[in-house]
Structure formats: C-alpha cells, structure tokens
C-alpha cells in the first residue's frame, strides 16, 4: 500500500480484498440458518446491517440461546468502531449531500483499511468504493448461497475460514506496526480484549480492548512530548 500505487493496482487490491471477504459470507449464511434464522432473515441482515463482525455477534448470541435484544445491543456496540472509522474517513473521502448517506452504508473494516493509507482523496475514494461495493455484492450473494446450503456444505471451520479472518485482520494491521507506539497499542488492545473475554458477552471485549489501547496510546504520546 505504498503512496505511489497506481489507480489500477489499487483497484486490483480492492477487488482481491472484496473476493476474500465476500466469500466469507457463505459461512455467515450457514451459521445464520444454523442459529435458527430463516434464509430471508439471514439475507436481510447482510443487506441492511452489512458489517460482518456485528452480524456474526448477533447470530452468535442468538445461537447460544441469548435474546435477540441482547444480540442487538452486543451487535450495535461492536458496530461502534464504524463510527470511529467514519472519523478517519470523513476528511479523506470528503463526501457531501446525497452521497454521504449512501457512502455510510459501505463504511466497514476492510473498506476503511484499504482507504485510510492513501494520500489523495481520489485514491482513497477509489480504494474505498471498489473494496466496499465489491464486498457488498459478494457478501450478499454468498450469504444467500450459505443460507440455502446451510450445514450441507459442512462446518466453515473445516475450511479454515475462521482462521482466514484472523489472518486478514493481521494483514490489515501489519503495515501500521511501523513504530514502537503502534506496536504497544496493538498488543495492549489484544491483551485487554482477551482479559475481558471470560467476563463479558461476545463483542464487548473488542470495544473495551480497543478503547483501553487508544487511551494507553494517548498517554504514551503525551509522555513522549514531555520528555
């Protein structure tokens, strides 16, 4: 993701991320129907929520016997990171008028990660929309296929799809680990989140870990300035 990337390489990379992430929709579809949702409900989730981690969290709570309202709270809490992604994207994408409500629907982990490293609005938009729209199309298509096929395609874990997500997140994080500060912040986020896994409902550890790590990062920056 160098700053000198050509428009064409940005589009190719974006479509690659779109394919890898979109294909994971098949496991969401399968897990959704396995959790007791109808095919229609599972597909509506991908169409209207369109934020993978929140969708999995909702289905996870429902599958473990939790109330759909508990699922909603967990899921929206987890979607809180999209608000902060918007903060990073607002200036870079500079969308106004009718474009803003449309653009908002595509604010997710991957479209943000692909866009925020660009230096110009033109390239940021290119990365954001190619990634976001290609994921949207494929994610919904594969959700439908997964929901129809249900458990017939087998446990998504047999294909290592759960490990693929961790690897994708690491690949997105990797280029940002270029300073001691960011390394400490990433490890702090991981450690705090893991500490809260046994204590809080699914999804909450990510919010607490992320928030704690940001505070640690701010404190370290302040100390660095004083020194």
């Amino acid at each position: 993701m160098s700053t000198s990337a050509s428009d064409r390489s940005i589009i190719t990379d974006s479509l690659g991320v779109g394919l890898a992430t979109g294909a994971y929709g098949i496991s969401f579809g399968a897990l959704g129907t396995a959790a007791g949702l109808s095919v229609w409900q599972t597909c509506v989730m991908s169409l209207l929520m369109f934020t993978g981690a929140s969708q999995f969290a909702f289905v996870g709570v429902v599958a473990s016997g939790g109330s759909p309202l508990t699922g909603a709270v967990t899921s929206v809490l987890l979607g809180g990171r999209n608000l902060f992604y918007g903060l990073s994207l607002a200036r870079l994408l500079d969308v106004r008028g009718w474009r803003r409500p449309v653009t908002a629907h595509f604010v997710i982990d991957e479209s943000t990660a692909m866009a925020v490293t660009r230096t110009s609005s033109h390239q940021a938009r290119l990365a954001f929309y190619w990634t976001g729209v290609s994921i949207f199309v494929l994610w919904n298509l594969f959700t439908f296929v997964g929901a129809l096929a249900g458990t017939a395609i087998g446990d998504p874990r047999d294909f290592g799809l759960d490990a693929a997500v961790g690897a994708a997140f690491l690949a997105l994080l990797w280029p940002r680990l270029d300073s001691t500060l960011t390394r400490i912040v990433a490890v702090a986020g991981a450690a705090v989140a893991l500490g809260f896994v046994p204590l809080t409902p699914a999804g909450v550890p990510i919010i607490i870990g992320g928030a704690a790590a940001v505070l640690i990062g701010l404190a370290l920056q302040r100390r660095g300035e004083r020194a």
Binding site: D13, G16, L19, A20, G36, Q41, V44, L48, S54, L69, A72, V76, G79, N82, L83, F84, Y85, G86, L87, L89, A90, R91, R100, A104, H105, V107, A113, V116, R157, D158, G160, D162, A163, A164, G166, A167, A168, F169, L170, L172, L173, R176, T182, A186, V187, A188, G189, A190, V192, L194, V197, P198, A202, P205, G209, A211, A212, A213, G217, Q221
Partner: protein, 102 residues
Amino acid sequence: MSLLWIGILLTAAGCYALKIAGLSVPDRVLDHPLTVRIATLIPVALLGALIAVQVLADGSALRIDARLAALGVAAVLLWWRMPFLVVVGVAAASAALLRLWF
C-alpha cells in the same frame, strides 16, 4: 412481528446510525488535534483486539488451537511481503489441514 425480526431491524438501524454519524462529524471536531490522534490510533487498537478475540476466544473461554498456528503462518508470510490474498488463503489452508490431521 417476531422478536427475532425486531432484533434484526433494531441492529440494522443502530449500525447504520453509527456509520453515518462518523462521516457527519463537523469539521471543527475533525480538526481538533486530539481527534486526529484518536482517529489514527483507533484502527491499530481495534485490529489488535479483533485479531486476539478472533484467534483465541471460543465463546467465553480462551482456547489455543489451529487458529493460532494459522496466525503464525500469516505473520511469516507477511514478513516475507506476500500479497494479501496469499496470506489469507494459506492461513485458511493451514488451519484446515491441521484440523484434518489432529
């Protein structure tokens, strides 16, 4: 309407509200140095937390299994500057193979 539908629609509305709110933050807030710092720290902090939970959590327990091995494989491939799709594909395949063998 079933409780499940209510949950789904509430979640969809909430998730969208958060997305649009982030994009609609006024310029004077965006220009604030603290906002700038927080906005650059957030992706790193959240990705760190997301990776840890994705790889080590199993419900409310922590579990070391094929996912951690696959993350190690991904780290090596990233170190070698392999492209994104190779990293993700090989990590998934190594987890799948490990589960097949053990």
